[in-house]
Amino acid sequence: MFNRLHPQGPLPEPRQPLVITGTAKSVDLPGTMISEKTVHTLHPKQHIMIRLLKYVLLDILKNRMMVFYTLFLLAVSFGLFTMSGDPVKGLASLLNIVLMVTPLLSIIFATIYFYNSYEFIELLSSQPIRRNTILFSQYFGLCISLLLSLLLGVGIPVLIFAPLKQGLILLAAAGGLTMSFVSLALLSALLTRDKARGIGLSILLWFYFTILYDALMLMVMFAFIDYPMESTTMLMLSLNPIDLARVVVLLQLDISALMGYTGAMMQDILGKSWGVMAATGIMILWIVLPLAIAVRKFKRRDL
């Protein structure tokens, strides 16, 4: 897959003609869009957005990597559920995999895909299409396809083996992680023009959020061991989307009781509806903020 997407390698055959004719058609006649009988009440620019999205989505769904990702998730989920026997235990093991694999694959795949569609994006930019539209079509195309994989690979086994509240929350957390890491991917791809550096930055971000951040947190906690750290810990947790997702799911898996006072406090907050809303809000911030910065960068960029 990486070969196919590599700039030196042969370009995927069906994409170029398909996209060019498609966009050219819709872009050439922006004024006539409304009069076309296939279009109903959509704003012409929205229409372009949806068409672009469709092409991006089709292109990604044809990618072999997505098939591998889906199959991998399916195999792992089925394996864990059948091996553990107990659905709640299965969910707990699945959590480990999802927390590691979903962000990693989302950020790397999205970064590589963005770099590889760079020529296409340049081409689109030469047309009278808003840059917002171009970037959002890329973003949502990536998100929808990755979420689809997640839904197939994890959602189906969860629905079969553990159709519980905990399972749904795990899925929601994984979905949130996917979306925020695609945002981070676009951001890192737009921070540097060099593909290798961009991918490196993505991997670094993943490494930071998965390992470094927790290690730093542990250091801080040890440094202030004599002080009440509960609220600070919670604040620190919300500054990392992976930790946030992990703790939200862990509390659902009944592990809160293990955590003594801290767990009781977390459960107290996240058990209430405003707590859940706050956690969701922070997750949405983790999706929106990097994307907003990426959009700003993309708009101001001299392509």
Binding site: G85, D86, P87, V88, K89, A92, L95, N96, L99, M100, L164, K165, T210, I211, L212, D214, A215, M217, L218, M221, F222, I225, M229, E230, T233, L237, D243, R246, V247, L250, Q252, D254, I255, A257, L258, M259, G260, Y261, T262, G263, A264, M266
Partner: protein
């Protein structure tokens, strides 16, 4: 003619044994007042109480008799007073429904209270909303069986214990069910007693609370979903066999809390879904064998103040932490246990692993010092830390290890059937909602 003589003897004696006097009192009889019934019945006879509901305050029993309920007899204390108080030996109380004892902060009011006597037999009673259920104080040879005691601990936190035994010898507590009280069963200064086949669940504090009570045995009891599990403290020669400790799940809840227990046995028990299966502090020379520790937060928390305990032939499966401790030296031994996290091999196929297993993970040491650190549970970083520590142990106690862990789950003939998965899920769900 020894047979003939025996027959005559039997015929002569039989009226004495089988036709002890029965006096009937209560609703529809000449004696309406139960207390005067007790007053009129000759010592050693049976007082049969007619069906109905009685609101007659506190009944005092000051002679040996059998107090028997005919059908459904409800003794209602109207939230004012104690209901039955026994002062004399050889009393038997059977088949009553006893409700609504009073609640005073100056006096422990109970459904049935037995004071400074012996050989009292309490069976088949149902006690509901009594501050204390059955209360024995300074007794010998009392037998309490097949009683059902339920309180309303969540509504009223000043509630007492289900079966409260204070300063007693040779008591037998058997087949009772205690729920919704403060402590399901409470023992203090009790010796040579047995607690068998009881169910103690959904109590506000402990399922079983046990202090300064030596040489007691408790077998085949079930302690489920109690506020803080079971606490056994300051006692020696306690035997705990075949009990089930299930779902004692909460921030400070234990399957059993063993505090300053010595020379005791914990055999063939099952600890499942507890925050901590066993928490030990200052406990020495305890034999812990053939127990199943399943799906607990911590299976075993041994504080460094425990020495010479032997942990062998147990199963540890599905626990978040197998063993945790707070010190670097360890003076307890672990042999031939099954650990589901063991990754060793068995080249000679003798069922014992060839490399030792260290059940204390680095993360559990971190959490012991830094409780909020548990929020990092299942973080990838923690996984890496634990792996690194397993390869080169430096911070975890080096001598705390199982030299020859069992390769397979050890089947125990304890006969305690495991809860089905479905039950467990239901429990989880009810806990969450």
């Amino acid at each position: 003619m020894p047979i003939k003589k025996l027959l005559i003897l039997f015929l002569a004696l039989s009226p004495l044994c089988s036709f002890a006097g029965v006096l009937r009192c209560g609703n529809g009889t000449d004696i309406r007042s139960l207390q005067s019934g007790i007053h009129q019945v000759p010592a050693g006879d049976t007082l049969l109480i007619a069906p109905g509901t009685y609101k007659q305050g506190n009944l005092f029993i000051r002679k040996s008799l059998t107090l028997l309920a005919e059908g459904k007899v409800v003794l209602d204390g109207e939230m004012k007073d104690e209901i039955i108080t026994v002062f004399s030996p050889h009393v038997r109380i059977k088949g009553f429904t006893i409700i609504n004892s009073g609640n005073l902060s100056t006096k422990d009011l109970a459904g049935i209270k037995v004071l400074a006597t012996r050989d009292v037999f309490i069976e088949n009673n149902t006690l509901y909303k009594c501050t204390f259920g059955i209360y024995l104080s300074n007794t010998r040879n009392c037998y309490i069986r097949h009683n059902k005691i339920s309180g309303d601990a969540l509504a009223d936190q000043s509630i007492g214990n289900g079966i409260h035994v204070w300063k007693a010898d040779s008591a037998i507590i058997e087949n009772n069910e205690s729920t919704g009280q403060r402590d399901g069963i409470y023992f203090e200064f009790v010796t040579n007693s047995q607690i068998r086949n009881n169910q103690s669940h959904h109590n506000f504090r402990y399922g079983l609370h046990f202090m300064f009570s030596h040489s007691n045995t408790y077998t085949s009891n079930e302690f489920r979903e109690n506020g803080a599990g079971v606490a056994v403290m300051y006692s020696h020669h306690v035997k705990m066999h075949n009990n089930v400790f299930d779902h004692n799940w909460g921030p400070s809840s234990y399957g059993i809390l063993l505090k300053d227990i010595t020379d005791s046995e914990v055999l063939d028990n099952r600890f499942e879904n507890n925050s901590a299966g066993i928490y030990m502090e200052g406990s020495n020379r305890i034999k812990m064998e053939r127990n199943d520790f399943l799906n607990n937060g911590w299976a075993l928390r041994i504080q460094a103040s425990c020495t010479d305990n032997v942990v062998s032939h147990n199963n540890f499966s599905g626990n978040t932490f197998d063993v945790s401790t707070n010190g670097e030296t360890q003076l307890n031994s672990f042999n031939h246990n099954y650990w589901d996290k063991y990754e060793g091999y068995d080249l000679n196929k003798d069922g014992k692993g060839d490399i030792p297993y260290r059940p204390v993970s680095l993360f559990s040491m971190i959490v012991e010092q830094l409780p909020p650190g548990l929020l990092l549970l299942r973080s990838f970083m923690v996984y890496l830390l634990d792996k690194a520590e397993k390869i080169i142990p430096s911070l975890t106690p080096t001598n705390l290890m199982d030299e020859q862990p069992a390769m397979k789950f050890i089947p125990h003939p304890s006969g305690v059937s495991a809860f089905s998965t479905l039950d467990r899920i239901k429990n989880n769900l009810t806990i969450n909602t």
